[in-house]
């Protein structure tokens, strides 16, 4: 059952990711990104990382993606603007993307992967919280300072000039 679901989710994630890149309508691309992010959340569930899956849906779909859609709706002429570029640019992009793809593929084949435990861990959230507050406290705080500065920057930019 889970194998079947896994391949289904994989096909859905990759398929929607292709739509994100290839569709000429920006709004459709953004909506396809919802499916891609949802598929990634499903992969977290397969890895027993239920909290991470929830965060993925809550932050990426419920927050960031809605802001992207909001941004698209604020711009005019969404459907009439053709966002695909010239053949020359597409050629350059294809070369770069193939390069990145082969590097990533090589890395995936070379990495000694951990084997997933088949049993559900007794708790995930508590352990993540404990690690964030002890071992990874500094990166956690640095990330929050980064977000805070972004927030202040956004407030500064949107303020009316006196």
């Amino acid at each position: 059952m889970s194998e079947l679901l896994f391949w289904f989710m994989t096909a859905m994630t990759i398929g929607s990711a292709l739509i994100v890149v290839l569709h000429s309508n920006l709004f459709y691309s953004a909506l396809a990104l919802v499916v891609t992010l949802f598929g990634v959340a499903a992969f977290y569930v397969f890895l027993w990382a239920d909290f991470l899956a929830g965060v993925q849906v809550f932050i990426y779909i419920g927050g960031i993606l809605i802001l992207i859609l909001f941004g698209i709706m604020l711009t005019n002429k969404i459907s009439s603007v053709n966002i695909s570029h010239s053949k020359f640019h597409q050629g350059i992009a294809a070369v770069i993307v193939m390069g990145i793809f082969s590097i990533l593929g090589w890395m995936i084949l070379k990495t000694p992967w951990l084997h997933i435990v088949q049993q559900e861990p007794s708790q995930t959230v508590g352990r993540i919280g404990r690690l964030l507050m002890t071992e990874y406290l500094l990166p956690f705080e640095v990330a929050s300072v980064l977000l805070l500065s972004a927030l202040i920057g956004a407030a500064m930019l949107s303020r009316k000039a006196n």
Binding site: M1, L4, F27, L31, V34, D50, F51, G54, V55, V57, F58, I61, G62, G63, L65, I66, L67, L69, F70, M73, L74, S79, Q123, T124, V125, G126
Partner: protein, 361 residues
């Protein structure tokens, strides 16, 4: 819970081997049908209640059909059944210049999100589709998807009012998600678990001698957190006084202006289902879930179900009370309340709950 039990029960027949995909599908469908029925019945009952409550608040009598036939029954009891039939029979109109695909998909997305969120809501000790480790977080996360359906509906309608409604809705829901989540954080700090049943079992027993040990009465900060949660929750389900995404006097009907018939009914159904979910979370997180209001009194599973439904009903009634007594807020007022009042209060609350648990825990 229900899914696990049904799986074991079916497996005990030995017709299927353990973990068979077909069996899992059958069990999920069996568990899903009652949720669908709950959503439908909830909408029928709540719409009737809304008609009657609004009528009494405005010194009218509301629907008062007499007798059987196509009249609305005694005291208008069949009014919503007649409404539902009417919606089923209505012509389905799709505007010519609308984006057909998205226009058709949008109501389903809006309908599916409360449907899957209800899977984690415990109605009593046993009546719960799945007791997830991340229960309350799962419901909040899934609930945040529904706004994508609203944006799709508003954009695909190709109508300026729909688009305005969708944009307002996106801004509103993204903003009010933050105080909702932060007020739930102050609950989680007390209970130490995200599981819905775990949060409820924390609220067992009494506090201060007589009061039930609900998180609402746990400490002054959690008392305030309930009000932050409930106000933001009302804003999240787009109810008056926060219904600017569909403000009928400015935007005709907001994001669902162009919808009619069954597709419109999906929006309606999910609005009432979302009220049910927000009330359900409030009841679980602050009002003791399915615990009896008098600790130790009538706590059998049947009565637990009754207490939980009554708490939800009470909260839904309060939302209706809001709707028929408060005027609608302006967009800027709405954002001010969220970012300048509720958010700082919620942050202060988390700090307060932390200090409280440090001193008393």
């Amino acid at each position: 819970m229900v899914v696990d039990n049904l799986m074991q029960w079916f497996e005990s027949w030995t017709l299927w081997e353990a973990g068979s995909p077909l069996l899992f599908l059958i069990v999920v469908v069996i568990a899903g049908v009652p949720i669908f029925l709950l959503m439908a019945v909830n909408a029928l009952v709540a719409v009737y209640a809304e008609l009657k409550i609004s009528a009494f608040m405005q010194d009218r009598v509301g629907p008062m059909g007499q007798g059987p036939g196509l009249h609305a029954g005694k005291w208008g009891l069949l009014q919503t059944v007649a409404d539902a039939l009417k919606l089923l029979l209505k012509e389905d109109i799709i505007p010519t210049l609308a984006d057909r695909k998205l226009f058709i998909i949008a109501p389903f997305i809006i309908f599916v999100t409360p449907f899957i969120a209800l899977a984690a809501l415990p109605f009593n000790q046993n009546l719960l589709i799945a007791d997830l480790n991340i229960g309350v977080f799962y419901i909040l996360a899934v609930g945040s998807i529904s706004v994508i359906g609203i944006i799709m509906a508003g954009w695909s309608s190709n109508n300026k009012w729909s688009l305005y409604g969708a944009m307002r809705s996106a801004a509103q829901i993204v903003s009010y998600e933050i105080p909702v989540a932060l007020s739930i954080v102050s609950v989680i700090m007390l209970t130490g678990t995200l599981s819905m049943q775990g949060i409820i079992s924390y609220q067992d027993g009494t506090t201060l001698g007589i009061l039930p040990n609900w998180i609402l009465f746990n400490n002054p900060f959690s008392f305030i957190a309930f009000f932050i949660f409930f106000i933001s929750g009302v804003a999240e389900v787009n109810r008056t006084p926060f219904d600017i995404p569909e403000a009928e006097s400015e935007l005709v009907a907001g994001f669902h202006t162009e919808y009619s018939g069954m597709r419109w009914a999906f929006f309606f159904l999910s609005e009432y289902a979302n009220m049910l979910i927000i009330s359900g979370i409030a009841a679980v997180a602050f009002l003791g879930g399915w615990h009896s209001p008098i600790p130790g009194f009538l706590e059998s599973p049947g009565w637990s179900l009754f207490w939980f439904i009554s708490k939800i009903g009470m909260l839904i009634f309060i939302m209706m009370w809001f709707r028929w007594t408060f005027p609608r807020l302006r967009v800027d007022q709405l954002m001010n309340i969220c970012w300048k009042v509720l958010l700082p209060l919620a942050l202060l609350n988390i700090f307060g709950v932390g200090i409280w648990t440090l001193l008393t825990g």
